[in-house]
């Protein structure tokens, strides 16, 4: 059993004092600039390469279930920014340029600002975590993600006591994301977590999978992975993280509030109004298997929802 942090815990003393932290950031900026210079020199001025994820460490978060084939995990995607058919993202995201990616950190925190992805990941060890991914459409995969616990990232920005939720936003750029030229969803895609969910050790800010940088069609360069919730909660290509006091709006909930709740925890007992969630097809299998409560992560997350009626707060 992993101890679950409460929303109020995120101002604890394990956060690096600000002066030390700022100094460290300065140092990292300088050193990364030197590093970049070396790389650029070597590449003769070519565009920056994708984030280096090669130094990742295996983590204890794993499963003995068979991995989904890389080929399938990268050609069967719900990423409406690149089209609504499953193969559309693989076909349309090839030229998506994620160089010089910046993320804005705002809202109820002491250290807001805009930070490059490289700087955001500096000082964090990238881990490999094998998680089950359960889509709301009743299919599932097993994917080895590379990333950093979201909690350790968020703590850098010193969320204050009013920070009860975290809101995320995907890039809005219909030129680079052609799917946004049609108003299938209310762009940009937005998602959110309660603070304790965001701080849960399972919640991962992922920058790669299968030992490689995040493929464009899977949410490059940085996405969320919340393995006990339906896949649409794991927002892709994040450009904004905002600490909020009130529950943020979320894209699928805006589209159809009766079908997609804010929590959207995997729950075989709560049907989607139009289809059952009791079973799922693991990609690569012919027959369906039983869906497990919280996608099999009840030990790590169930305590966050004690006292809640999960049929009402689905």
């Amino acid at each position: 059993m992993i101890k679950i942090k409460k929303a109020s815990d995120c101002r604890e003393s394990d956060i690096t004092p600000e002066p030390v932290y700022k100094k460290r950031r300065e140092f990292m900026k300088t050193s990364s600039a030197i590093g970049t210079g070396l790389v650029l020199g070597g590449l003769q001025g070519n565009a920056l390469a994708a984030l280096d994820v090669s130094g990742f460490k295996k983590s204890g978060y794993t499963t003995d279930e068979e991995l989904t084939e890389f080929k399938d995990a990268t050609r069967y995607n719900n990423f409406y920014e690149f089209g609504t058919a499953k193969e559309d993202p693989a076909s349309n995201a090839g030229n998506f340029n994620t160089d010089d990616w910046r993320i804005s950190i705002s809202g109820e925190c002491d250290n807001p600002g805009v930070i490059s992805l490289e700087d955001l990941m500096q000082g964090h060890t990238i881990e490999e975590r094998v998680y089950r991914l359960r889509c709301v459409e009743a299919w599932s995969m097993v994917i080895p993600w590379l990333g950093v616990p979201l909690a350790s990232i968020l703590q850098q920005f010193k969320p204050n006591s009013r920070a009860k939720y975290v809101a995320f936003k995907t890039l809005l750029d219909p030129e680079r994301m052609p799917g946004q030229q049609r108003s299938v969803l209310d762009w940009p895609y937005i998602e959110g977590l309660r603070m304790d969910e965001a701080m849960n050790p399972l919640t991962l800010l992922a920058v790669g999978m299968y030992g490689k940088p995040m493929p464009n069609q899977n949410g490059a360069p940085v996405r969320l992975v919340v393995p006990w919730k339906y896949g649409f909660k794991s927002i892709k290509s994040i450009v904004s993280i905002e600490f909020t006091e009130t529950q943020p709006k979320t894209t699928w909930n805006i589209l159809s509030p009766g079908e997609y709740g804010f929590y959207s925890n995997v729950n075989p007992e709560v049907s989607h109004p139009r289809w059952s969630q009791a079973k799922e097809r693991r990609i690569g299998n012919f027959f369906r298997r039983d869906t497990v409560m919280f996608n099999g992560y009840a030990d790590e997350v169930a305590a966050m929802y004690t006292g809640m009626d999960l049929k009402k707060q689905f």
Binding site: E69, K71, D72, A73, R75, Y76, Y80, T84, K86, E87, E137, W139, R182, V184, L185, L255, S271, R274, W275, S276, K279, R281, I283, G284, F286, F287, R288
Partner: protein, 212 residues
């Protein structure tokens, strides 16, 4: 051209192509990351497309005056049943492991499945009576029975509309085509109305109607 001996075999082959594509890819190619879904969607799509084609022959005949289009109607209708059966069977097998009670529970609880399953059930008597023997045996009832196809096409397009998550473009396109094809028949009914009116008028005026 429509009278050509090769027309029917050609249309037969064209209608069979999606099935050949599926079998070929299942054996030698690749049906994507979720083959069950691919086959389910493909067979469903083609059942609906060919159903719309089946409903096109009559208006085509009316608009062009070429009655030979009707020769293709039974064959395409049977292809609808062929793809609808495949659509149902792959779902019954892969999603429900041929478990009848589990399948029926889905039919009862999920409205879009209720509609799709009803459409499939209603197609069955049409397929069974698509032969000369049954046409003769049913007489004037045969036509009434086969007008069920108007209900079936509505069930089919709503079945599709109802299962979509956000992108309604394709199902709406099918629904529009279905509505146009149905409306084209309504105006035909209107014409019949005009015919009977003019027949009434001509009787009233004791002279022969100029129409036909």
């Amino acid at each position: 051209m429509l009278n050509h001996y090769a027309t029917k075999p050609l249309v037969f082959f064209l209608c069979l192509l999606p099935f050949i594509w599926i079998v070929w890819n299942a054996l030698y190619g690749d049906l994507g990351a979720n083959p069950v879904e691919t086959v389910t969607h493909q067979t469903g799509d083609w059942a609906l497309r060919i159903l719309l084609l089946t409903l096109l022959w009559t208006p085509l005949k009316n608009w062009t005056g070429i009655s030979q289009f009707i020769r293709l109607r039974r064959m395409t209708g049977l292809f609808v049943y062929f793809y609808a059966s495949a659509h149902f069977l792959i779902w019954f097998l892969a999603d429900h492991g041929l478990d009848l009670s589990s399948m029926l529970e889905d039919v009862i609880k999920r409205p879009y499945i209720t509609l799709g399953f009803s459409a499939f059930l209603l197609l069955t008597p049409l397929a069974v009576t698509s032969n000369r023997f049954m046409i003769r045996r049913l007489g004037r009832h045969w036509k009434t029975l086969h007008q069920l196809v108007y209900v079936i096409v509505l069930l089919a397009v709503i079945h599709y509309l109802w299962l979509v998550k956000a992108d309604y473009l394709e199902p709406i396109a099918y629904a529009l085509v279905a509505i146009i094809l149905l409306l084209s028949r309504l105006s035909a009914i209107k014409n019949i109305g005009q015919h009977s009116r003019s027949a009434f008028n001509s009787r009233l005026h004791s002279r022969v109607s100029p129409n036909q």
